[in-house]
Symmetry: C2
DNA sequence: TCAAAAGTGTTCTTATTACACCCATGG
DNA sequence: CCATGGGTGTAATAAGAACACTTTTGA
């Protein structure tokens, strides 16, 4: 068995890409590292997998240890194994991702995390290791998945308005959607429960609040569904302009 | 750095799931192992990744060494890392998959492969390690991908009939498709070149032969496209039956 | 002349798109 | 009374689904 020994000198880690949505902005949870390598740098919450630990279990444990976030569903995305991606030796990493409702969790940095904080996707710093690359791959995956699974709903608080939901999809898909078509499609899925409540204290007509129909949501999740939505083509033109120009 | 040493005792491998299509049947390329563990058992062509080798490169090298297949595009699928999946220690594996035209390659078992052979997907034996699980996951991925990318074409010989193409999709999607709707959709993509040739020596009306328009294929590949096709609901009823029953 | 697979169109239904104005509230 | 975002419907088009018979060949 001796000639195998050379192969048993590498390590592997899990890295978690946790997406959240707040203030109309898609966010990702990052930690500041309190350990070498990349001490003091922002990074995805990740760590080594123990010898007696499955990958999925490791991802859950590591996330909890570094950020205090518990009880979330993590999905494996991809491995990254470039030869020199870790300065201590050969380390490949398995990326996991999840979508959570920011308001449901309090972030509690611990272990090797000096800090844990939500960062806007659009303003993520230079991260440790190849974590920018990993983040990008996970964002791509999110973008892809959201079209065929009703995932976006994982990110919103229990009560939300249709406009918030639309903004979320726009943030993920990086496009503008047509308001009427969006509402028509969403409502036709029969996935939202009208709470007969409205926003309060807003300086405009208050929006109705909705909640997900968990049962139907689970049903749709398992069968998958098509969620392509065409972007709005309105060129920010003020109403009643052209069109009526010709007799 | 000493407390990290415990982590650097694992190994990782790549395993390739190579799909082909022949005789109306979806196939996968397997090797018979000539090395422990699982000596003599059928397995996916895979092996350890060298310390100085990237994952993608390792997948290509391993495939070539074990089967002689060279110059194919391999795509990473997923990692498998259950604690006891390898009897020699902690070994996680990265699964890769590819689609090839069986007729374009001659299989040349070498290295630790005693044999290399195409096996019908529907009749795959008990494989070494967790390779049945890996195969299943890759088949699922194929099924999923084929709906949104014109992948199926990778599997057919340069010239083929529309019925062959349909059978291929039926094999991958494990369903029946409506002949007329299938042809309508495929031809409307403007992806096939009519060679103005027909089959010869068949005991029925000979079918026209087509070839892919490589240029347009590449264009579609990069933009992705929607390839959902509804299954045929014909219940194998002989023509002129019901329907005309009511006045 | 028979068996076997190739080939071919139309109608119906459903989903998608484009698009503009009035409404309710707080300041 | 005004600024702000909420809320609504319809017509045109495109895509999908259902479905049956004639044609060509070799045996």
């Amino acid at each position: 068995m001796s000639h195998f020994d050379n192969f048993f000198k590498s390590a592997f880690t899990v890295d978690n890409v946790i997406f959240g949505f707040d203030e109309g902005d898609l966010k990702v949870l990052l930690i500041r590292r309190g350990e070498e390598p990349y001490h003091g740098k922002w990074a995805l919450p990740g760590y080594f997998v123990y010898p007696n630990e499955d990958l999925d279990g490791a991802a859950i444990r590591v996330l909890e240890e570094l950020t205090g976030i518990d009880n979330v569903y993590l999905e494996q995305v991809q491995s990254f194994g470039a030869v020199n991606r870790h300065p201590f030796g050969r380390v490949i990493t398995i990326a996991y991702f999840s979508l959570i409702k920011i308001s449901n969790f309090s972030i509690q940095p611990a272990s090797i995390a000096l800090q844990a904080q939500w960062h806007s996707i659009s303003a993520v710093a230079n991260l440790a290791f190849d974590h920018n690359k990993i983040l990008k791959a996970c964002f791509q995956k999110l973008k892809w998945l959201v079209r065929s699974r009703p995932l976006g709903f994982e990110l919103l608080p229990p009560q939300f308005t249709l406009t918030e939901l639309q903004h979320l999809y726009e943030a993920i898909l990086e496009t503008d959607l047509d308001k009427r078509n969006f509402r028509k499609k969403i409502l036709s899925m029969d996935l939202l429960i009208d709470l007969n409540l409205t926003q309060e204290g807003v300086a405009h007509r208050p929006a109705k609040l909705y909640q997900f129909d968990e049962e139907r949501y689970q049903a749709l999740l398992s069968e998958g569904f098509n969620f392509e939505l065409k972007e709005s083509r309105t060129q920010h033109k003020k109403d009643k302009s052209s069109e009526s120009a010709h007799p």
